[in-house]
Amino acid sequence: MTALDGGFHSPATQSATAFRGVMTVMAQPGHIVSLTGAEPPAPLSAAAGAVVLTLCDADTALHLAGEMDSPEVREWIAFHTGAPLTAPADCAFALGRWDALMPLAQFPVGTAQYPDRSATLIVEVDRLDACGATLTGPGIQDRAQLSVPDTDALIANHALFPLGLDFILTCEDRVAAVPRSTTLTAPEVN
């Protein structure tokens, strides 16, 4: 197993399938789907690997945070995506665990003219279940629940709308998303 392995063996169909998966979770915040086909080096999960293979290329600057910034991960990303690695302030995508990505203020949130010039954070989480914070907003029928890492930070991010960051949460082979358009309510403490 080297940096040259672990990519999609059938890039056209697998990246299309993975793109459909990412689009589904973005369009339906809180919805969890399975993403397979990538075998990235640790500590990247299969789902995060598939997201990177699908969304990153030479035109999308990527920031690797914390333990993600290892020679193995760098080499794998270089071969399979060609994405240039940058500092948080210049990135289109960032990859890391929640704590390593802090503070969120270091990432671009877009401009009033171009709200799309903002970062999408791919966050590796330990658990990803349909429980926890309550999600409402575009793409959600009534309400959804998702185990998000920090509800307050995501509420603050939503307050920036139409600016703000978008979050893709990955755990093993599962992925969910919390775009900036989603309204969150903290889980009730029992």
Partner: protein
Amino acid sequence: MYVAVKGGERAIENAHAWLAEERRGDPSVDALSIEQIREQLSLAVNRVMAEGSLYDADLAALAIKQARGDLIEAIFLIRAYRTTLPRFGGSAPVDTGRMTCARRVSATFKDVPGGQILGPTFDYTHRLLDFKLAADGDVPDADTRSAEPTHVPHVTAFLNREGLIEDAPADDTPPPDLTREPLELPASRALRLQALARADEGFTLGMAYSTQRGYARNHAFVGELRIGSVPVEMDIPELGFAVEIGEIEVTECETVNQFKGSKTEPPQFTRGYGLVFGQTERKAISMALVDRALRWEELGEDNQGAPAQDAEFVLYHGDNIQATGFLEHIKLPHYVDFQSELELVRKLRREAGAPPVQEAAE
């Protein structure tokens, strides 16, 4: 605004079939091959590559065939194809000092080191129709003189040694890319050069000619015009070093322009620059003249209000695909828009007391 209309599928299919038949022409005449277009209409191919902004001679030749020789339509096809390609990265800037020149002339110095090389030029032809070509004769081989391939230095480098011309110091700022981010003003020189390199040749020529006739006059000499091949080198992320991935033919024009000096700069010559894919010297010279005219602000010159000094005017109107797209869309159905205009004019006429006219069938 135009609105979607339904229907007409059958008519459209039949129109396409007829178009295909017309494209083929008289079936008793041999069909053109892509290779014939690539080899024998190479300057048309070069123009399509330059303005299509994609260097691939076979694709350009195919586009010309498909477009029945309509070069703007061919450029449109290339631009559309280009958007389907994943981009692997950006090359290192091509080093035109390492060019293997097929042509290299200077209008400013007759004795340039490396010599004046005419190359395969139309310049000294008599522009008389050659009826021998109609008879499809073979051509004799061009003469040769033994020579080793060498690189020749840029003419502006000589002026530079005396400090008589502005410097163009190397710099490695990643350039903005108008195929990725929309063109915004004020546009840096890098962005202007990208826009000019893919701009319509006729538009660029007209703009350049206007500067020669006195609109933003800046009296250009062709310091050097060179055509030849340069290697394209790219950093390969997985290898961690740069390799040559191919070779392209380009035309480069450097103009030398009078400059009286400004508060910060002594009197010296300034430069205009043109670089275009393929053998495209009319375009490269035009690009250099327009580039120089657009530099008035950074050189502290007066705005004479000339069209060629107006970056917004030049950059937003030089792209023939944007222009043709907007221009030609007005022939598509605008029935709803026009209905409302019709109602408005009728209302105004009623109010003005004009006699009613018999309504035309709508």
